[in-house]
Amino acid sequence: MQRLKYWQAISQGLVQCMERDPAVIITGIGVDDFKGIFGTTRAAFERFGAARVIDIPNCENAFAGIAIGAAAMGKRPVVVHPRNDFMFLAFDQIMNLAAKWKYMYQAKRGVPVVFRGIVGRGWGQGATHSQSLQSVFAHFPGLHVAVPASPADAKGLLVAALREDTPAVLLENRALYELEGDVPEEPVPIPFGKARIVREGTDVTIVGASLMAYEAARAADLLAEHGISAEVIDPRSLRPLDTGTILESLRKTGRLIVADTSWAMYGFSAEVAALAAEHGHACLKAPVRRVTPLDCPAPVSRPLEEAFHPTPMTIVRACLDVLELTATTSRALADVQARFPGPY
């Protein structure tokens, strides 16, 4: 196993998939520039050049369709959105065509476009550059939607997406980009719909999506210092959702916290809480708690931004709450953004 950062894992995954499958192309605004989408497309461009790593005009909607049309003719386009927020403009093509293609035409094969969208957590990106849109994408049948939270998953889910015939949306959180972890050297696919048990525990289950899987693990460390054993589950993909793993954990712990980077209302945290209400009712020992951004657009100003995003401490407090404990935690955790390199 090699150690790679999150962005390096993506970069490597792209290169390896392009090596093995000549149909894979990388497309998007600025994929070929010196920044190379925070480093993720740079190696591919250096290796395969402009014929397969292709800068595009600013045309989110048409380009989603163009990728679909290329996929229908056998290509496997990766479409990169430096901010997932720009994908609003492409929703029609993604939700109304790509997601429905196989069903609506009863086609032999879906249109395997892989949409990468980056959630711009960090540095006051504000209301239109730091939303997490996973819950919206995951509402629609026909898509695969994943929110990789570790370097290995970032690579593995990408590899899976590039081998399957289902259009996929991969949302990467910018705050995870410098995170380092073990990553298989080979392009081993990680199947959609299989959760990752980040840490085993017995007192409370924390399901954390995207960055919140990482923050939940940090929260679990802190809880462990107080003798509380939290099980942390990273769903990895929201569609399909591995309900089995979540429910199994719930049966063990009887307590559930759901942490997410997208809003609570009609979001991922609602779905997992609903799962508990539907299928975990008998074993639930305490109310479910959701830990999410506050119910307002993302503010820019630092103290507001810090109040807006959930942190390990918010998760810890929610856990203590459902455990009916009032232990005051001994140490505060450094904010995940402390690692973020300014000025931008």
Binding site: I25, A51, I56, P57, C59, N61, A62, F63, A64, G65, I66, A67, I68, G69, A70, A71, A72, M73, G74, K75, D92, Q93, N96, L97, W101, K102, Y103, M104, Y105, Q106, A107, K108, G110, P141, G142, T166
Partner: protein, 338 residues
């Protein structure tokens, strides 16, 4: 390809759609067949057994037939909500279409897609869709793939004058022109988008093809009710695209006879006049080519009548088969989602 194409129902599909340069009669047969299919379906529509909103192309057949006559089987087409004629002209299975409208498993999308989602990839009908402008970009993408692979194929996007107003039209033109992809844009300008005339939708005094020309795309305006002119223009266009010269834009002036969606006539609904409809009906593309062929002795009135009956039999048989054939099983409802 040059062989005769068997449809699902076993009926002979006119060869017009398959061979560039076929004689005029083949074009006439292809138009007659589409007209016959649509008129028959329009009559049957009132029975409320085709439960799918349906946009008939009656009056606009020359565009579909003329363009598809200039294509090869390996070329692909995309359409919008008004897709029957395109689908049939490119060689789509009649039974597949009729079955689809009747919501049967035998339909080309097994009854899941309905009238506005006709597709049959084997003959190059890749997708139709009811979201305005949606498949414009998809056609560009397919053409782009051909260009990347240096394949001698082209992609065609059929759409109306209404789709032109959507942002995706501009984005698609810009990309196609920039990358010089082999896409043929075919705009069927029938003057209306639903019940709105061009005057309330697009700036006055500017034609669509002129605006497109400003992107550096080769454009042509053609009488969309003159199938020979359409075929000729489409042949030029196809050559242009295939020889690496980039996209081509063909605006075809034509007219929808029936209501926007549904089988009825609607000249009494206030948004257009009976005179206007009648004027355009006088310019019927089928009538026009029939007269052309008769005048030149290429066929006789009896031939035409025989063809009509042939197609009527074909469509009746397709309808009968569709009606006899099973609906999808409700238990199979999730099939194809992934």
């Amino acid at each position: 390809m040059s062989e005769v194409q068997e449809s699902h129902s076993g009926a002979v599909v006119p060869r017009a759609a398959e061979r560039p340069g076929v004689p005029e009669c083949e074009l006439l047969r292809a138009m007659l067949r589409i007209r016959c299919v649509e008129e028959t379906l329009a009559d049957l529509y009132a029975e409320q057994e085709m439960r799918t909103p349906t946009h008939f192309s009656i009056g606009q057949e020359a565009v579909a037939v003329g363009v598809c006559a200039a294509l090869r089987r390996a070329d692909v087409i995309y359409s919008g909500h008004r897709c029957h004629a395109h689908y049939l002209a490119k060689g789509g299975s009649l039974l597949g279409m009729v079955g689809e409208l009747y919501g049967r498993e035998i339909g080309t999308a097994r009854g899941r897609g309905g009238s506005v989602h006709l597709a049959q990839p084997e003959v190059g009908v890749i997708a139709s869709s009811a979201i305005l402008g949606q498949t414009l970009a998809v056609a560009v993408g397919s053409a782009w793939a051909f260009a990347m692979d240096h394949a001698p194929r082209i992609a065609v996007a059929f759409f109306g004058d209404g789709a032109v107003e959507e942002g995706i039209f501009h984005e698609s033109l810009n990309f196609a022109a920039l990358h010089r992809v082999p896409v043929l844009f075919v705009c069927e300008n029938n003057l209306y988008s639903t019940h709105s005339g061009l005057a309330v939708r697009q700036p006055a005094g500017r034609s669509i093809y002129e605006r497109v020309g400003a992107y550096g795309i080769t454009t042509e305006h053609v009488d969309g009710n003159d199938v020979l002119a359409v075929r000729q223009a489409a042949s030029r266009a196809a050559d242009h695209c295939r020889s690496g010269k980039g996209p081509y834009f063909l605006e075809c002036a034509t007219y929808r006879w029936r209501e926007h969606v549904g089988p009825l006539w609607d000249y009494d609904r206030g948004y257009r006049t009976k005179e206007e409809v009648e004027q355009w009906m006088a310019r019927c593309p089928i009538k026009r080519l029939t007269e052309h062929c008769l005048a030149r002795g290429l066929c006789t009135p009896a031939d035409v009548e025989a063809w009509r009956q042939e197609f009527r039999r074909e469509v009746d048989a397709a309808v009968a088969t569709a009606r006899r054939s099973p609906f999808p099983r409700p238990e199979a409802i999730l099939e194809g989602t992934y």
